[in-house]
Assembly symmetry: C3
Homo-oligomer: 350 residues x 3
Amino acid sequence: MAFLRNAWYCAGWTNELSDRPLGRTFLGEPVAMYRQTNGAAVAVGGRCPHRFAPLSMGKVVDDCIECPYHGLRFGPSGACSHNPHGDGAIPKAASVRAYTLAERDGIVWIWMGDQTLADPRRVPDMHEIAEQQGWRVIRGELKVKAHYELLTDNLMDLSHVPFLHPFLSNAEALPADYHEVRSLKQEGETVYSLHTAKNLPMTPLFAMLWDGETPAQGDLRANMRWEAPANLLLDVGMVPPGAPGAAGPSLPIAHLLTPETEHSTHYFWALARDRKVDDAQMDGILHAGISDVFKNEDERMIVECAHMMDTNDLFSLNPVLLQGDGPSIRARRLLRTRIDKERAACEAIR
Amino acid sequence: MAFLRNAWYCAGWTNELSDRPLGRTFLGEPVAMYRQTNGAAVAVGGRCPHRFAPLSMGKVVDDCIECPYHGLRFGPSGACSHNPHGDGAIPKAASVRAYTLAERDGIVWIWMGDQTLADPRRVPDMHEIAEQQGWRVIRGELKVKAHYELLTDNLMDLSHVPFLHPFLSNAEALPADYHEVRSLKQEGETVYSLHTAKNLPMTPLFAMLWDGETPAQGDLRANMRWEAPANLLLDVGMVPPGAPGAAGPSLPIAHLLTPETEHSTHYFWALARDRKVDDAQMDGILHAGISDVFKNEDERMIVECAHMMDTNDLFSLNPVLLQGDGPSIRARRLLRTRIDKERAACEAIR
Amino acid sequence: MAFLRNAWYCAGWTNELSDRPLGRTFLGEPVAMYRQTNGAAVAVGGRCPHRFAPLSMGKVVDDCIECPYHGLRFGPSGACSHNPHGDGAIPKAASVRAYTLAERDGIVWIWMGDQTLADPRRVPDMHEIAEQQGWRVIRGELKVKAHYELLTDNLMDLSHVPFLHPFLSNAEALPADYHEVRSLKQEGETVYSLHTAKNLPMTPLFAMLWDGETPAQGDLRANMRWEAPANLLLDVGMVPPGAPGAAGPSLPIAHLLTPETEHSTHYFWALARDRKVDDAQMDGILHAGISDVFKNEDERMIVECAHMMDTNDLFSLNPVLLQGDGPSIRARRLLRTRIDKERAACEAIR
């Protein structure tokens, strides 16, 4: 199955780029990224056109990336800028692709398709997890050996939480007046998987972050937003029963999924909080806890499912669908339509 | 090459099943096994039809297996018995296969084919390795990365012993009156690879188990019985020269081979003895010795051969056949006939 | 892509062969090698025709190799010489290939093609790395997960040295009168990649080996000789500026590349020196240094390139070629012509 190419994908965090090249593979293409002296971020094809060495193993010289094998240099445009051999003439064909990057909200976004279509104004808005006054942000990254849509499915149906993450959930001890609603909402091409729970017993996570006296129960919101191809933002928070949204801690979390290949995914996540923002120990507790849940519960399950499926074509397996699958199936269908359109447009040009 | 489906395969030992699910793959199909509260053993398809999670990673609730991902439950019949989401309606298609199990002689047998044909009376008789008065049984299991018929070949031609297991053999020091006979016998669809040796110098294994004064040499029997698809029983024992069968130790050993995939095999073995039955140290010595021989000699060689062959189709390689190959080739041909018949019957129905 | 079959390949070092079989795979074929009692080296097909066990795991008995599984023995001609089973009759088809070996300069050469064409007089001349008076030789071996021509490319274009091996090079500190020439020479079917550098600052390697006062700079020669399919000899040495070749240390080094498969290569190397020949510590320093450079710099880069290429067909990727690629491309084309000729001759016979 093809990737959506004309789209912004997360390539990493802004603080990961420096004058030391960083190599990653996106959509099956090796990419080398670095910063110029003026701070501008650069992304070029990661494979030297001479002997196919990985440019990311080279170094940055004069704002160009130097091949670690025979020393050809390539500038931010992807053109070869220096040939240290023979008469130094630069062969016409000596160039690599250049990819448009955009930096916003602490995220480096990359455009993998037709570069003339890259519009920085259409970069997904993830301001909730940007560094800002009154908030604290922690970040992480996993490499998951599964197709990225299996991760989208996981995130768009959080009804898995009581089963896959029993320690995050209070499913065993729900009071008589507990009431939850899960729903699907679509706005344009944005899909929401909405979840609100009234009178949920206080969870350990929110108890830890609460200011002042912790109520015995509260109202939870956990609303996931999806934009193609696979950039998600979860607005999660808890307030005393019936109170407005700001009356308790907010924990927005971005889930940015970038296919490495058909069978592996870069999973970048960032969590912001508006409580105990100067508490470095809390940073550590949250980072360790989230990493543990993602790695040992979600990732493990997703990789097992990928192995059991043995195909990336979910529908070919005739899955039994439940109410909670609505949002993920909607997202899958919107994405499929976008990919089909992109391919049709491509073929029309040929 | 297809598997024989309408047959009893060893799925494990009776004491392996409990209210905690056990997951294994047989004939390429993932299976989840557990016990109900009343002790009855259950085997169902191991892949949830919703999002294809491995059911064996779930837990048993009310005699049903609960999916570890989103909590669907499936009963012993394979039908979904509980949907914790939305209005709780159970989709019609929500079911997994149910497999017939039979427990006998400490073995859990599974029927992988047409369940209406599963006849517990046709379970292979392995009473020799069942727990019984005057006998002691030890058991083990290996996973071998090779086609199961290569293991059958290994077991049906024990003329490999002096070469592959020099420490088990006394080939170097055979007396003038030593005499051995190897022969093939077929009864119905059961194949025997028979081996008797007269005046064999006492082996370290039998010396260890002997009651009273150990004779310098003895008569050995090592008769392997094969039933399709790959359930073998070796009747091995030694007696003083010319004495009847009960005059020395008996060491029957079951070799139960169940294909995991085309390229890997579950190898279950059980060894019974009628000497030193209360000697726990002897248990340890025998278990360690057998595990070592199987793992470091047989398994290693079989995996090397599988690698050298690079196909499961032995005959396509035109093997040079020797006298000792008679029983294994007979077994291979009987099995092939059964598989061909089964497939023909299948196609006749379509 | 086919291998050149009618050619001498390095199979190992003469001191590696003994009465204990050595198993290696060349051109995709498993081979078992050993020495007869009279010292003659033997190479036969490494796969028993009975049950396909690896003969190299067996032992040598009466100048024959005995299969480790069921004990068939094969003599130096490849014919089965002993069947320990049944009536001992030897099946007609029981034989393996026999390969012609030649020993010269401490190297065991093997002829993988039509054995009637094996001519020991055409064994490559590597006398520079043979044990001889006034010289000291050290040897090593690597297994590289890449097609052998990628290693040829690496060796035939040493312009990679300043980039891949910065610590071996003085590229940063070249004097004004530094002058280097790289050129290509072909004599018959032998290709040379020649490199001379005048007034090169003394390198740590040559400083270490120098007798008497070390000059501040010198003239370096590094001339690589290639013969098909992939046997290379580097004549490397340094002398005081303008002095003749014998005025400084010589360090000839053989690079003998034998394909194991399409995707892996046996890389045998031997380094001779004519200075400090009795200094065992120098042996250790040189061996460790070379192993480190080959393994952590060359091999790592070659394997990365192979991975990035994802094909053995270099030209299908339209590589940008530089001046330094002349010798390697010449070698690739000569080899291709030889392989094509060999295949055409083969097909003409059919």
